[in-house]
């Protein structure tokens, strides 16, 4: 098995492999064993994290948010096997490429995608799914119906584009309004640091988020503004 696994990425928590599994292109997320932890603690944390991640992924589906299909949840090998989107682009790369192929003032092109992102995050939050790491690297664009259009224009055909949310490693289910505010704040910071050519991007996303539905929206906005005003998540006591 290891001979056929290709490493896609390695982080502090886990390694990502790609392979063909059960006849499908598959992504394997394998969590590391941490030797500084007591073995019982390590096993229990890892198991809990795998469960949280899988739970969030499935819950998104019933909420109408597209996420990778799950093929196997393997506590023994500390792995989640899931759908790998071979023909996709991260929203991050899409936005960065956009700059080089279109005019700066072409914010309108991004509007459709911003609305899609805002609505998607709102759907997650309405179902109490806190992503925990909302960045444009954790959002993918895929085609609903595969086409043969050239790479640099296919993603602009927005009626055939779907948004996929990935990497639920830090996610959890919580009804707390504060966590939703924090999720939004993390997204805002990520957009500022990565896509500062589009300074209005977050506000467009946030508008779409707000207009998606009215439920609890005032509290969420208020918490988000609190978190933002604090600059970081808590004030410190000496």
């Amino acid at each position: 098995m290891s001979a056929e696994l290709k490493i896609l990425k390695q982080g502090a928590e886990a390694k990502l492999y790609i392979c063909n599994y059960l006849g499908k292109p598959t992504l394997i997320k394998e969590r590391f064993k941490k030797n500084y932890r007591h073995p019982d603690l390590d096993t229990s944390i890892t198991k809990e994290r795998i469960k949280n991640e899988a739970r969030s992924i499935v819950r998104c589906k019933t909420a109408g948010v597209k996420t990778p299909a799950l093929y196997l949840v393997d506590f023994e090998r500390r792995r989640i096997y899931m759908e790998h989107f071979e023909h996709s682009i991260t929203v991050k790369d899409f936005i960065i490429n956009l700059k080089s192929t279109t005019n700066q003032g072409d914010m309108n092109t991004l509007d459709v995608y911003a609305d899609l992102i805002g609505g998607t995050v709102r759907k997650m939050h309405e179902n109490n799914i806190i992503h925990g790491d909302l960045t444009t690297s954790n959002m993918l664009l895929i085609e609903k119906d595969p086409s043969n259009i050239a790479e640099n224009t296919k993603w602009l055909n927005h009626s055939n584009i779907e948004l996929v949310i990935i990497d639920f490693g830090l996610s959890f289910i919580d009804t707390s309004v504060e966590d939703k505010g924090v999720d939004l704040y993390v997204l805002e910071r990520a957009l500022i640091s990565t896509h500062n050519d589009y300074p209005n991007l977050f506000s467009r996303i946030f508008e779409a988020y707000k207009s998606y539905s009215k439920k609890n929206i005032k509290e969420i906005i208020s918490k988000y503004e609190d978190v933002r005003a604090r600059g970081r998540k808590r004030t410190m006591v000496g």
Binding site: Y36, H38, D40, L170, G231, M236, G238
Partner: protein, 334 residues
């Protein structure tokens, strides 16, 4: 060449130290120790500092061989910390500055720890884990600020350990944390406790209240040593995890542990294992500098003073809340 004197008293340690261009000339300290089962309160702590500060000041001057005339800047802890104890040191520092006709400079306590750690260990640009009775933060330097990447969402890890020591009625001498550490070394049976890491932050009040609420039942199946062992293994694992996440985020290969809890050998050991698995280096100081002390305030103050930072006397106040990232790090330009 800057000669600085530093006054530290934000918690139960009163420290005065003198430094000359990074060379430590004296480092004197007294600790206010309460009876077992009791924590220290602001008023009594301030009284302790008041009763000892003149003696410690004389000691620091005598040991260093420096006269007040030779001092370039009088530094003191502006915050964060407990109000009344901070005020005692601030008043004495202000008086000295006026008496000796020297500039005064208020220093951020956390930055004192960080700069002392960098001085002693020579760590270049580490990810800093600052852990004490009052603080738990992950800090990394960027563009003239010590930025907080992660922190506790409620209580500090030292506070968590100290309060557990009170539940077990352990002695507070030399410190409750030290006694928990010694007990933990004898622990054998591991108890599964609530583990709470959220992104780059940790939450410690849950594990403390879990133990406090069940202590009588727990002691039926576990010895106090087992409980100390399990508590350390759990909270330290949480700290190592957020440190590792910050390192991955910043692509850093150095860790510096500062603050009183940084003296704990088990914490250093666990952090060491994580570092060696990543090919990173770990730096830590010993109890002279981990634990609150005056010389770290002097050194951080000296750095700021040499870089041109000045503080008018009217601003030489204290504040209980003082975020590490509020300070403009004028002495670094990387």
């Amino acid at each position: 060449m800057v000669i600085a004197i530093g006054f530290e008293g934000s918690a139960n340690k009163l420290g005065i130290g003198i430094v000359k261009d990074g060379e430590i000339l004296s480092n004197c300290r007294r600790t206010y120790i309460t009876p077992p089962g009791e924590g220290f309160l602001p008023r009594e702590t301030a009284e302790h500092h008041q009763q000892n500060i003149h003696e410690v000041l004389q000691e620091a001057l005598d040991q260093s061989g420096i006269t007040p005339q030779e001092i370039d800047v009088v530094c003191y802890t502006k915050g964060p910390g407990m109000g009344a104890p901070l005020t005692v040191c601030a008043i004495v520092a202000r008086t000295c500055a006026l008496l000796w006709n020297k500039p005064i400079l208020g220093v951020n306590h956390c930055i004192g720890h960080i700069e002392m750690g960098r001085l002693i260990t020579k760590a270049n640009n580490p990810t800093v884990l600052y852990v004490s009775g009052g603080n738990t933060q992950i800090i990394a330097y960027s563009r003239q600020r010590y930025r907080i990447f992660g922190e506790t969402l409620d209580i500090a890890v030292g506070n968590c350990l100290d309060r557990f020591a009170r539940v077990l009625k352990l002695s507070n001498a030399p410190s409750p944390g030290y006694n928990i550490e010694q007990m933990a070394k004898k622990g054998k049976k591991y108890l599964h406790l609530p583990y709470c890491v959220k992104g780059m932050d940790v939450s410690l009040s849950g594990i403390l209240s879990y133990m406090e609420d069940r202590i009588d039942e727990l002691l039926k199946d576990y010895t106090p040593e087992d409980l100390c062992y399990s508590l350390q293994e759990t909270v330290f694992a949480m700290l190592v995890e957020i440190t590792e996440r910050a390192m991955a985020h910043c692509a850093s290969d150095e860790v510096l542990i500062v603050g009183g809890v940084g003296c704990n050998e088990r914490l250093q050991e666990m952090m060491g294992v994580m570092c060696s698995e990543r090919g990173a280096n770990i730096f830590a100081t010993d109890e002279r500098f981990c634990i609150d002390n005056g010389v770290m305030i002097a050194h951080a103050g000296a750095l700021a003073h040499a870089a041109g930072t000045r503080m008018p006397l009217e601003h030489a106040t204290v504040t209980q809340r003082y975020r590490t990232d509020d300070v403009l790090v004028t002495w670094r330009d990387d």
